[in-house]
């Protein structure tokens, strides 16, 4: 998971805007969710699922 965090986080964990901070956190969560099987992913993303 640390690898995932490093890819999307600023170098020292600080952000100049709350939008930037939130976006970084969401990217981490999305990368974890991407590992789900497609049937579970479909529960979350419905027909908007991207594979």
């Amino acid at each position: 998971m640390e690898t995932v965090l490093k890819k999307v986080k600023s170098s020292n964990g600080t952000y100049s805007s709350i939008e930037e901070a939130v976006e970084s956190k969401i990217k981490v969560v999305q990368k974890i969710l991407d590992k789900m099987p497609s049937n579970t992913k479909k529960k979350i993303f419905g027909d908007k699922i991207e594979s």
Partner: protein
């Protein structure tokens, strides 16, 4: 949670909460934000960040304010308020580091009996969600109200 929460202020739609971590050494402004995961049905990401004196935001700082339990109780209260306002929402969260994720797991484990009366709590392990079991090395947690058809 069995520890007192800090006083919380929030915006009108209960997506953004503010509180202050207080110790003899320093006070730290903290912000809890719930954000809909893009393209998801009802999944909201929980972000907990420090608001720095220069107006920037930090999710890695270690404050050593000796109030971790009080902070977690406050975040729990934010989740409670948010889910009461958005009963079909599912809140997802993980730590900004592995050690913080482990802390969250321990906090959930210690309060699981009480929290599970009202909330459905799951952990993400082996690429899928399962009912939360203490001491499993989850990457991500989800909390939603029980008895709600979320998806």
């Amino acid at each position: 949670m069995n520890y007192p929460a800090y006083s919380i202020s929030h915006n009108s739609n209960l997506l953004s909460f503010n509180f202050e971590s207080v110790s003899d050494e320093r006070n730290i402004q903290k912000k809890v934000i719930f954000t809909l995961i893009p393209n998801s049905v009802n999944f909201y990401n929980l972000s907990l960040v420090d608001v720095l004196p220069n107006g920037h935001f930090d999710d890695l700082s270690i404050s050593n304010n000796n109030d971790l339990r009080q902070i977690l109780s406050t975040v729990y209260e934010c989740i409670h308020l948010f889910l009461n306002q958005n009963p079909k929402a599912i809140v997802l969260f993980t730590g900004s580091t592995e050690s913080r994720t482990r802390l969250y797991r321990i906090a959930i484990s210690q309060n699981l009996l009480e929290a599970s009366k009202k909330f459905k709590i799951e952990g993400f392990l082996n690429d899928d969600f399962e009912t939360f079991v203490p001491n499993r090395n989850y990457e991500l947690f989800s909390i939603s109200l029980k008895n709600t058809n979320n998806y």
